[in-house]
């Protein structure tokens, strides 16, 4: 039986007390005991005028340090790191930013078994977004980016919008521009 999925609607401006406060907020994607290189990721969301969006919600889903997802459909999930549940969610602050704490994921198999470069899967929700936008966060200077089977699908001049940069002080920064010159690549999933 084929059923048509329920339509998406905007999360609106007043979701915070339901989705991003108290126990619903999870800035920590991988617990303190998780294996792998720990990192902090600052996300910044800007609208078509370059103005920070203070009422956006970001969700992140990622694999553990060995590239295994904590999910039954990953054939390797039985040996996935129990300290890395892989999910985080935060609302942006007045300056359009929010900060996650996690570990750098390993490489996950992609189309035709080709390994993907380490990446975080990101979904963005906000007032004015009738459906969530999907993008990916890759890490600058990772040699595996050169052979990633998804990055090659993106026009060369736009690939840099998917790559987080390491700032002074050891924090990664990922900017999401909804429109404009540096418009972030969003995926049709």
């Amino acid at each position: 039986m084929r059923m048509v999925p329920t339509p998406s609607q905007t999360v609106g401006p007043f979701f915070a007390f339901g989705l991003t406060q108290g126990k619903a907020c999870s800035p920590c994607i991988a617990g303190p005991d998780a294996k792998g290189e720990r990192l902090r990721l600052l996300c910044c969301v800007l609208d078509g005028d370059g103005v920070p969006i203070p009422d956006a919600m970001i969700e992140i889903w990622q694999a553990d340090a060995d590239g295994k997802y904590h999910h039954p459909d990953d054939p390797k999930s039985a040996t996935a790191d129990p300290a890395c549940l892989g999910f985080g969610r935060m609302g942006t602050a007045e300056d359009g930013t929010c900060m996650f704490e996690t570990i750098k994921p390993g490489r996950v198999p992609g189309p035709a078994g080709v390994l993907q470069s380490p990446h975080l899967n990101l979904a963005l929700f906000a007032r004015g977004l009738l459906k969530q936008l999907y993008t990916r966060v890759y890490f600058a200077n990772d040699p595996a980016n050169q052979e990633d089977p998804i990055l090659v699908l993106v026009p060369k001049e736009r690939r840099s919008t998917l790559i987080a940069q390491l700032e002074n002080g050891g924090r990664w920064r990922f900017e999401i521009n909804l429109q404009g010159e540096r418009e972030t690549v969003f995926f049709d999933v």
Binding site: M1, R2, M3, V4, P5, T6, P7, S8, Q9, T10, V11, G12, P13, F14, F15, A16, F17, G18, L19, K23, A24, G48, D49, I53, E59, W61, A63, Y69, H71, D73, D74, L85, G86, F87, V108, P109, G110, P111, Q116, H119, N121, R127, G128, L129, L130, K131, Q132, L133, R136, I150, L153, V154, L178, Q179, E183, T184, V185, F186, D188, V189
Partner: protein, 242 residues
């Protein structure tokens, strides 16, 4: 067996939406989409493990009064008490068990428990308006709450949102994630609401309207409304070939 194992490892495609059944990102009558909808075309992404896996929840995440929004404070909230029930299914008609549903809504006067809500309607100290629950093994869920009021917004002159409850559902995969709004049958404001009207296909749009349900309705206590939710599921054509 080897054949099956191979199918299994390549069984990573989820069905894609049919045109018109979901809103486009840009819908001019909803003004906030103008500076927020992407202007460049989306890049087609083949599904990998990254897309078809997603967060898994357990009962530890849910407290006892989390699905009864009328029982979270000292007294009872004002308004019309309602019971909202339904099933979460995937696009193949299979129930989605143990999946997290989160809801949030305005109170019966149309006011949110949110600092930025400026609507001059009263707050209700007995109502916050947020709840969460997990679906059971049949994909069923149940909330007790009060019927939210309509509220004004700044989208256009004399703009009012029809009464609605916001729903957030996970499903099995990161790409089955759905945030939507549940509306009430017969609401005259639906015809004027650009958020509701942003879905081009009329039949698809109507799936967001709950149904009054006499069976769920409890005598001398609360009206019942049914709201089933359908999420994207694995591409059925792959299953059929197994």
């Amino acid at each position: 067996m080897t054949h099956l194992a191979n199918r299994r490892s390549s069984l990573v495609a989820y069905s894609r939406h049919e045109p018109g059944t979901q809103p486009e990102s840009l819908y001019e009558p909803y003004r906030s989409t103008l500076r927020r909808a992407p202007s460049k075309p989306l890049i087609f992404l083949p599904h990998t493990l990254s897309e078809v896996t997603g967060p898994v929840y357990g009962h530890g995440n849910i407290a006892e009064t989390d699905n009864d929004l009328t029982a979270q404070h000292q007294g009872e909230p004002l308004g019309e008490r309602i019971i909202v029930t339904g099933k979460v299914l995937d696009s193949n008609g299979r129930p989605v068990p143990q999946t997290l549903i989160e809801v949030w809504q305005a109170n019966s006067a149309g006011r949110y428990a949110h600092l930025k809500d400026q609507h001059p309607a009263p707050l209700d100290r007995n109502f916050t308006g947020a709840g969460r629950t997990l679906t059971d093994e049949h994909g069923a869920y149940r909330f007790i709450t009060i019927k939210p009021g309509a509220y004004p917004w700044l989208n256009h002159d004399n703009a009012w949102r029809p009464a609605h409850i916001h729903f957030s559902v996970f499903g099995r995969a990161f790409i089955s994630r759905l945030v939507t709004q549940m509306y009430f049958p017969g609401d005259p404001l639906l015809a004027f609401d650009p958020v509701y009207q942003s879905v081009p296909d009329e039949k698809a749009r109507q799936r967001m309207i709950s149904k009054f349900d006499l069976e769920t309705t409890q005598p001398h206590w609360a009206l019942g409304f049914k709201f089933d939710i359908v999420l994207r599921g694995p591409d059925a054509t792959l299953f059929e070939s197994i």
